[in-house]
């Protein structure tokens, strides 16, 4: 039995505890321990952004963060964006602008872009492209994702 540790943190606005393995990533904790599967495994080495979550307001690759290091943090996953009006406007823009195809990169894109809109409420296309440069998408060619982010900024 590998050693475990109990941590407590805020997840999507709710304070909670979890028992995690010492070598476990935040991604494994979210998906396998807590059962929030919106955050995706794409590469496990911080290259694709499919597992982007927000940690204390900053976008982070959950695969590169030890679960233990979530202790005391404020974490938001794609599921936690449901209560965020700005993120909901963004989600609608993703739908309306055709930013979703297979959708596997979408949760990471949503978290990343929500962070952008929080810091840069009205990004232009270049700012949106820079913001998602660490998030890979194989289906859309990014154009419609960028359009959606810019449009979400314009509508607010």
């Amino acid at each position: 039995m590998s050693p475990t540790s109990e941590i407590s943190f805020t997840l999507n606005g709710v304070h909670r505890r979890a028992t995690v393995g010492l070598e476990m990533s935040a991604l494994q904790m979210l998906r396998d321990v807590i059962g929030l599967t919106g955050t995706k495994y794409g590469c496990g080495e911080g290259e694709c952004g499919a597992c982007t979550i927000s940690v204390d307001g900053k976008p982070v690759n959950a695969c590169l963060l030890f679960a233990l290091d979530c202790d005391g943090r404020d974490i938001t996953t794609v599921e936690g964006l449901a209560g965020d009006a700005r993120a909901q406007a963004l989600a609608k823009a993703f739908v309306d602008h055709g930013a979703v195809q297979c959708g596997f990169c979408t949760p990471g894109m949503m978290v990343q872009a929500t962070h952008l809109l929080a810091t840069t409420p009205h990004p232009d296309a270049a700012a949106a492209q820079r913001a998602i440069e660490g998030n890979l998408c194989r289906c859309t060619g990014y154009r419609k994702i960028v359009d959606a982010i810019v449009a979400a900024g314009e509508t607010r």
Partner: protein, 796 residues
């Protein structure tokens, strides 16, 4: 940024050509979609596969004792545990677990099912394999040479007529195609200009964002339920039945939402069979998911090709002949990659009018990764070569690149030397539109003139075209799709279709086609498309066929339903059915639009009527196309898609960095059905083509993949994409659903070719190998790029 032109206004209230948002987009944007990676079955075990540590070796001994003894391990299987393994794949040359020999680094030797993934991986580390190295053949030319080490050597005592996996082969030839029409010698004699070049195309792979995975379970009745990301569920079911020795009626394939396909899931793979075997052995559901590294190492690739092309034309620019031979590195096993010449030869023979053409190709076994199908299916490679030659010949006869192509472009009504019939053909309009919207002719002359001016940044512009099947493809025995349509008391429609959704938006466009016929809003339809126990047969997602084939099938069912409803309404209202129509969720008088009754209300009434058959079935078997004859001739598709794409680049001659600035694309799509969806397909295809041209490279050295990760493989990222201007040419195909043709693969096909032509325009250098990395371009600028070796001819 993508600006559609040449659109015809749709009829009032029509859904055709509208921007219909994807039905599954809201759930995906909220993270609620449950992909196969997100599924857990009660009592499931986790599987992992031990792959070869050697490129080519005899397996002397496999010791699994320690792995079997590890607590939490439920089963360890090797080939010895499955004495009657049946071969899989296109050439039946592949046994899922390898017992006596490994032929490539991805080869599966043993597999474990355990309580957790961690235990399964720990068990793999306890398996000891003793190898005896064999000579490695990592080069297709060497593999084709007489006396080369054999990848599948003959097996003594094998039954005659048994598949390659059980008999072996006396040489390394995996597949061979010889095609010809006309007389190339005569064509060459009539030529004023003849050019010949060799092109060398590299390995790339699909990089689906969701890694491969499968969950296998034998249910309480002993039936196999397979949760799979396959693109071909019905073919899969049939092949699984053969491989497992099961009645296909006892195999059910369920397709959870998929994290990208692009052709990668068109074949059956060892990991799927192995997972089923583990489920069989353990009696538990078994889940097997790749890591990203494993995805790079053990997925199929696009086929690497060496290609020598000889082409000619007259002084007036008329093409005279084309002669091609190619050598394909098949890898150690045969998947669909070996059959890409089917598609390549269409481009050689029929993209332009070529009176004389021959094509000879051989796919050769090596100890490299094996190639599968990948969006475009050989056409990227063929088009790269053909379009380089179109530019070279245009220059030789002093014509501009556009004019030269227009002169030789196919037109509607033509029957090609290969027997393809172009009933609808917007090729010339694609060429003109892409050229006009990009200011191609003026810029091309300007950039060439500016080439020698000071400053490191050179601009260039290039054009390339493509032809691809757009009305299904007669590859398999049948090319059909079935539909079941169910109407309920509330005017809600359930569309049950054989066509799989792999992210491309098929469920949305099929729903749209049904709603168009029934005068319903898109919200009135749900689509069921992911369970072989429920859905009617379909051949699968391949060959850009789904909108065309499944679309026609869905329209057929919707029209049947509409006719039934209107006949019943006509009887109730004592008027001819032809005078009625379905619009806006109502039954109306066709001419005046006067509403008679709400559809939902009327349907409720029909349920108490003995004529109420509100379940209709329909099918689209077969499209008007034929199988090729033995000489590969025949009209294999009911329609063909065309495109011209113009790429504008900036080349930094100090560094060799190529920046793709603009892409102007014009696609003959027959008709735009879902504008949002088709823009997404084309933009995504363009950027996939950009990756093939500029950044992506799966480095294979001595049979080893050197860069099995995103960092070193280099997909295109968001800041690198070009501005995209997309035009749709609506040729209104007579057989297409609402006039539409398939477009899934088309946009990725000619980007690399156009980029090569743009780099040539910018720098004067013709580069015949991919990708155009800074190093390769810099070397080319300094004439330090080795010329590709001419492709060897492999005698039969």
């Amino acid at each position: 940024m993508s600006d559609a032109t040449t659109t015809r206004p749709a009829a009032e209230g029509s859904l055709i050509g509208q921007r219909i948002t994807k039905l599954d987009a809201p759930e995906k944007a909220s993270g609620r979609t449950r992909y196969i990676h997100d599924m857990q079955l009660p009592g499931q075990l986790h599987a992992a596969i031990l792959r070869s540590a050697r490129v080519h070796a005899r397996i002397v001994r496999i010791d699994t004792a320690a792995a079997r003894a590890l607590p939490g391990v439920h089963a360890v299987i090797t080939a010895a545990d499955l004495p009657n393994q049946r071969p899989i794949g296109v050439a039946k040359d592949h046994l899922p677990l390898k017992g006596d020999r490994v032929r490539s680094l991805r080869d599966e030797i043993a597999a474990v099912a355990a309580d957790s993934e961690a235990v399964a991986l720990a068990a793999l580390r306890l398996i000891k394999v003793e190898y005896e190295d064999l000579p490695v053949v990592a080069d297709a030319e060497a593999a084709a040479a007489p006396g080369a080490p054999l990848v599948h050597p003959p097996i003594a005592g094998a039954a005659a007529g048994a598949p390659v996996a059980l008999t072996g082969r006396a040489d390394n030839i995996a597949m061979r195609f010889d095609y010809g029409h006309g007389d190339v010698a005569q064509g060459e004699a009539e030529s004023d200009v003849v050019v010949e070049d060799t092109f060398e195309l590299h390995y790339v792979t699909h990089c689906c964002m969701g890694v491969s995975g499968v969950i296998a379970e034998f249910d309480a009745r002993g039936n196999l339920v397979l949760y799979s990301n396959t693109q071909v569920p019905f073919l899969h079911k049939r092949e699984f039945a053969e491989v497992l020795g099961m009645d296909p009626g006892r195999i059910r394939i369920v397709q959870p939402p998929i994290g990208g396909g692009f052709g990668s899931k068109l074949d059956i793979y060892p990991f799927e069979v192995i997972c089923v075997q583990l489920a069989r052995v353990t009696g538990r559901p078994v889940r097997l998911m790749f890591s990203r590294e494993e995805e790079f190492l053990a997925s199929p690739t696009r086929q690497p090709v060496r290609l020598t092309l000889r082409s000619g034309c007259r002084r007036d620019g008329t093409l005279t002949f084309r002669s091609v031979h190619t050598l394909h590195d098949n890898g150690a096993y045969t998947s669909w990659g070996a059959t890409t010449p089917f598609v390549m030869m269409q481009t050689f023979s029929s993209l332009y009018r070529v009176p004389h053409c021959d094509y000879h190709t051989v796919a050769v076994y090596t100890n490299n990764p094996y190639a599968g199908s990948f969006r475009g299916y050989g056409n990227l490679q063929a088009t790269f070569a053909v379009e380089a030659h179109m530019d070279r010949m245009a220059e030789a006869v002093g014509m501009d690149a556009l004019q030269f192509r227009l002169l030789n472009a196919q037109q509607a009504g033509e029957v090609t030397g290969q027997g393809m019939v172009f009933r609808s053909c917007g090729f010339a309009e694609c060429l003109r539109t892409a050229a006009e919207r990009s200011d191609f002719v003026r810029k091309r002359a300007q950039y060439a003139a500016e080439r020698d001016q000071p400053g490191p940044i050179k601009r260039g512009i290039g054009i390339a075209s493509m032809l691809h099947v757009g009305g299904g493809a007669k590859i398999y025995p049948s090319d059909g799709c079935g539909t079941i349509l169910k109407l309920d008391d509330f005017g809600h429609v359930t569309l049950i279709t054989g066509a799989s959704e792999i992210g491309q938006g098929s469920e949305t466009v099929l729903a749209q086609l049904v709603c168009e016929e029934l005068g319903l809003p898109i919200s009135a339809v749900s689509v069921v498309n992911n369970d072989t126990d429920i859905t009617p047969w379909d051949v699968g997602v391949h060959a850009s066929r789904t909108t065309f084939i499944a679309g026609n099938s869905a329209i057929g069912a919707a029209r049947k339903a509409r006719d039934k409803i209107l006949a019943a309404a006509a009887a109730a209202h004592d008027c001819p059915a032809e005078s009625l129509a379905l619009r806006g969720g109502r039954i109306v008088r066709a001419e005046s639009g006067e509403p008679l009754v709400d559809l939902a209300r009327f349907l409720r009434g029909l349920h108490f009527n003995e004529r109420a058959e509100l379940v209709v079935t329909s099918f689209y078997y077969e499209p008007p196309s034929v199988h090729q004859d033995k000489g590969y001739k025949g009209d294999v598709s009911a329609a063909y898609a065309w495109a011209a794409q113009v790429v504008e680049v900036e080349v930094d001659t100090d560094t060799g960095v190529v920046r793709m600035v603009n892409v102007t694309a014009a696609h003959d799509v027959g008709r735009v059905l879902n504008r949002l969806g088709i823009e997404g397909q084309i933009e995504g295809g363009i950027v996939m083509g950009q990756g093939y041209a500029l950044t992506e490279n799966l480095v294979v050295e001595g049979g080893r993949i050197r860069n099995p990760n995103f960092r070193d493989y280099k997909l295109v990222t968001a800041p690198e994409i070009p501005a995209m201007d997309i035009s749709f040419i609506e040729s209104l195909d007579g057989e297409g659903p609402q006039g539409a043709k398939g477009v899934g693969e088309a946009p990725a096909i000619c980007i690399a070719a156009a980029t090569a032509n743009a780099i040539q325009n910018a720098t004067g250098k013709r580069i015949t190998t991919l990708p155009f990395t800074p190093e390769r371009v810099y070397r080319a600028l300094h004439d330090a790029l080795p010329a590709p070796r001419p492709t060897p001819r492999v005698p039969s």
